[in-house]
Structure formats: structure tokens, C-alpha cells
């Protein structure tokens, strides 16, 4: 009974209230405090250190084309990779192009994951591109994006 209750509660979205201009960006890469502010282009450059990411169909980004509720948008990133010690996905970064902080989550994987995949639910302030920026163990970056139309914004 308790378990069922728990899952019911998880499924219910609670949208965040009205948007206020974001406060200054806090420079803490591993444990953010904030709110933070960073545009998409700067976020990509920060993550890749200036390297140009390559558009790749090895990166499978799954997100709805139309999201009814911008507060709870499911996003799944899967990358074709053998996930061996010499060839694996080091990180999956999810970026939301038009949110005031384009950075959403940085997931650092290891061969012990077996498969390169990460799935979660994100808040989108409005219609925008969701991007998966992937770092491979050989240092290259792959990228894939998808536009998500948001009918009710995730920030109220």
C-alpha cells in the first residue's frame, strides 16, 4: 500500500511558481548552489573546453515532441558504446537551450554501467531544444538535439 502511494505521489507534478530574474552564476562545478545562469553556447564551451562536438546518430535522445507540462518532461539519452575500459562513454550532459541555466545535469559513467544510458525528468521554461552532449573516453564530444514544444511552461 505504502509503495503504491509513493509511486502515485511521484507521478503528480508540482510546478514551480512564477519566474524571477536569476541570480548570479555560482562557479562550483561539482556541487552547484544557486540558482545559476548560463546560456547554451557558454555551457557547451565550458563542458568541452572549446572542442567542437560532432553531431552523431550514435547518440539517441528521446524527449516528447510536445510536452503538456513543462515542469515534468521525460528525457532519455542512450549512446551506442561497448562500454569497455578502453572505449566507453565518460559523461552524458543534458542541456536545455532556453532555460536561464542551460545546464541541467552532468552524468559521469564508467564501464561498470554496462550500457550508456541516462533518464530523468526535467523542467523546461518554454519551447526549446533539449541537447545531449556526450563525452567519450577518447576525449571526443558527440551531440544530438531535439526540439520540445511546451504548452505550459515549467516555471509557472
Amino acid at each position: 500500500m505504502q509503495r503504491r502511494e509513493f509511486f502515485k505521489k511521484l507521478g503528480t507534478a508540482t510546478a514551480v511558481a512564477a519566474v524571477i530574474p536569476a541570480m548570479s552564476f555560482a562557479d562550483s562545478a561539482s556541487k552547484p548552489t544557486g540558482p545559476n545562469k548560463m546560456d547554451f553556447k557558454t555551457a557547451v564551451e565550458t563542458i568541452t573546453g572549446g572542442k567542437k562536438p560532432i553531431k552523431s546518430d550514435k547518440v539517441h535522445l528521446k524527449a516528447p515532441e510536445i510536452a503538456e507540462n513543462g515542469a515534468v518532461v521525460p528525457v532519455t539519452v542512450t549512446v551506442d558504446s561497448p562500454m569497455t575500459d578502453s572505449n566507453y562513454v565518460k559523461a552524458i550532459h543534458i542541456l536545455n537551450g532556453k532555460n536561464s541555466n542551460a545546464r541541467c545535469i552532468d552524468v559521469f559513467l564508467t564501464p561498470a554501467n554496462g550500457k550508456a544510458m541516462f533518464s530523468t525528468r526535467v523542467k523546461l521554461s518554454g519551447t526549446q531544444d533539449v541537447t545531449a552532449l556526450v563525452e567519450l573516453s577518447d576525449g571526443t564530444f558527440l551531440i544530438a538535439s531535439q526540439n520540445v514544444k511546451v504548452t505550459i511552461g515549467g516555471c509557472g
Binding site: 509513493f6 511558481a17 512564477a18 524571477i20 561539482s30 552547484p32 564508467t110 554501467n113 526535467v122
Partner: protein, 112 residues
């Protein structure tokens, strides 16, 4: 300091063998407030309170860690895969930007 938060680790499939790659999810009831929201009644800004880092540790070895920014949804879910490599324990820990810490463990019991 850590409030008692309801959380859950789910492994799919429930029965697995050694060497199998299973789906693992960690879910927790947490407000994930961005710090940009306003309380509708008081009109005051709701301070930022969101999970900012998560770690998955399997039999003492860290297999995944995450840096989390403020745009994950309320009551967040973190799903990835894990290769079963012996009996033991999976422990997921997180911290949030206010210093709250939480830990949840699940026994790993491969069959065959």
C-alpha cells in the same frame, strides 16, 4: 540535519544473474526548488533547494556520479544501467545545495 525523505531504489528486472546489465532507478521526494520561484501567497522568493550531486556506489566502488543543476523536476528520478558483478550492496547518496545529505541502499543478490 537530513530530513527523513522517502526514497526508493528500483532494479529491473527484479531477478538477475551475475554479468547481466540491469536498469537501476533512484527516486526521492524532494522539492527541487530553483530559487527563482515565488510563493503565491507571500510573494516572497522560495529559496533554492535542489539536489546538486548524486553518487551510485556498488560494493564500495563508485560506478556513477552526477552533478545536478536546478532544472530537474520535483521528486526527481535518476535512471541508468548497472552491470551485476557479485552479491553485495548498491548505495545511492545525494547532497543538496543546503547541505542536506541522504543515503539509500539496496541488496544485490544475483541468482546463478
Amino acid at each position: 540535519m537530513a530530513e527523513e525523505r522517502k526514497s526508493l531504489i528500483k532494479i529491473k528486472p527484479k531477478r538477475y544473474k551475475d554479468g547481466e546489465i540491469v536498469k537501476v532507478s533512484f527516486m526521492v521526494m524532494h522539492p527541487m526548488a530553483t530559487g527563482m520561484g515565488k510563493d503565491k501567497k507571500t510573494k516572497k522568493i522560495i529559496p533554492a533547494k535542489y539536489i546538486n550531486s548524486v553518487k551510485f556506489v556498488y560494493n564500495g566502488k563508485e560506478i556513477t556520479h552526477m552533478t545536478v543543476w536546478e532544472s530537474l523536476s520535483v521528486n526527481p528520478v535518476f535512471t541508468t544501467y548497472m552491470k551485476i558483478n557479485g552479491k553485495g550492496k548498491l548505495t545511492v547518496t545525494y547532497t543538496d545545495n543546503t547541505g542536506e545529505m541522504h543515503e539509500k541502499s539496496k541488496k544485490i543478490k544475483p541468482r546463478g
